[in-house]
Amino acid sequence: MAKIAIDPITRIEGHLRIEAQIDGGQVTDAWSSSTMFRGLEIIMKGRDPRGSWLMAQRI
């Protein structure tokens, strides 16, 4: 039983970490984590929608 972690996963947009449980050469369980947070949903609350697209399209 071994657990491996691949971080960063490259050739994707964004930041990703994958952990996998290996048992007899087979992946028996796996976990993914997005390792970056900006909080656009928090920032957008209460903003004037006429200007919000300038931020929302830049996610």
């Binding site: 972690a5 971080d7 490259t10 930041h15 947070f37 656009l40 928090i42």
Partner: protein, 362 residues
């Protein structure tokens, strides 16, 4: 500059089948972009022929990969040449082959060797000890500080790396910051814009290779060759501004005729960038050319300027002496005489307008 096992940049380009003629053409374009006189082309060419390929580390933190997309739109040189030959791109999460520990080893080896250039894309979160962005189990702050400790220079690209970008907008949940607020003691050049323009990055690298220093910068750390003039100064629709010919409504006759977008909220008069001359997508077009006003993306906190409200500089009142062009007939001779008078009036109005804008924004 460290020695590179693959030889000089010119060697690398020759291997890729780049002819001397194409190479000199590229040098001329770069000299032009950098606002250097034609007499400097041989110096640029000599520097590029003899320079070793600078290793480059590209760090992505709180980013959207939009600036990476901009990098991949490079055509001077083509993206393959830029990535594989002109720059020795040792680390870039979005496009590098290795993942995980192997990727991090590439970074570690480059940092230990020193003499590399660093590009930073995305803001750096400092809240909660930096946990809002971790790569390989380390925080963005840690990674940036380590990479900065041995780099020749940092090029911050895009609104987030230069000013903190929208992640730093109140209430700034992750306490995001720009590179300048994290790193000191290292030359930093800011290539703002959302995204930045890759041709300006290429030109900055060429400047660095030719003169062994970063280009002259403004008070926001932006290179003057790219950010020294307002969009408005070089806009192809400027003639319509001076003549009082404005788009008043989307799709109206003025819009169809390509008139000035100032009244529709164009931020060209308060925005410093070379978009009108360098353009985007291999020089194909730019936002104003596409019929939308400039949103001012190279200025700090540009999203706080309501996109469709005028910049509030002044309301232009067109002179009354223009020849009637829409209704009623006018003889060609009469139009000529009135046109000449209007030309003088418009010229004066334009000069006054420029002075007012200058005064307003200083």
């Amino acid at each position: 500059m460290v020695d590179h096992p693959d030889g000089t940049l010119m060697d690398a380009l020759v291997r890729k089948g780049v002819t001397r003629r194409d190479f000199l053409k590229f040098c001329s374009v770069m000299a032009g972009t950098l606002a250097l006189p034609a007499s400097m082309v041989p110096k640029v060419a000599h520097a590029l022929e003899t320079a070793t390929r600078p290793p480059l580390v590209w760090l992505e933190f709180q980013d959207c990969a939009g600036c990476t997309e901009s990098l991949l739109r490079a055509n001077q040189p083509t993206v393959a040449e830029l990535v594989l030959d002109v720059l020795s791109l040792n680390y870039h999460e979005t496009i590098m082959a290795p993942s995980g520990a192997q990727a991090e080893k590439s970074l570690e080896d480059t940092v230990n060797a020193g003499g590399y250039l660093t590009v930073v894309e995305g803001s750096i979160p400092t809240g909660e000890n930096g946990i809002y962005c971790c790569i390989g189990g380390r925080t963005a702050v840690d990674i940036l500080q380590e990479v900065a400790s041995n780099t020749a220079a940092i090029i911050a690209v895009g609104a987030c790396a230069t000013y903190g970008g929208w992640p730093s907008t109140p209430p700034n949940p992750t306490e995001a910051k720009g590179v300048h607020e994290i790193v000191s003691g290292v030359p930093i050049v800011s290539m703002s814009g959302c995204p930045y323009n890759v041709d300006n990055l290429t030109a900055t690298v060429v400047h660095y290779l030719t003169f062994n220093k970063l280009p002259d910068m403004d008070d926001l750390g932006r290179p003057l060759f790219a950010y020294g003039r307002r969009i408005h100064d070089n806009c192809e629709r400027r003639g319509h501004f001076d003549a009082g010919e404005f788009v008043r409504e989307w799709g109206d006759e003025g819009h169809r005729n390509g008139w000035c977008l100032y009244q529709m909220g164009c931020k060209g008069p308060i925005t410093f960038h070379n978009c009108p001359t360098i353009r985007w997508n291999q020089g194909t077009n730019w936002p104003v050319g596409g019929g939308h006003g400039c949103i001012g993306c190279s200025q700090p906190n540009f999203w706080e300027n309501p996109a469709y409200e005028t910049t509030g500089i002044f309301e232009v009142t067109p002179p009354q002496t223009f020849p009637p062009t829409e209704e009623g007939g006018i003889s060609p001779a009469g139009a000529g005489a009135i046109g000449a008078a209007a030309g003088v009036a418009a010229g004066v109005a334009g000069a006054v307008a420029v002075r007012q804008i200058t005064k307003e924004s200083e």
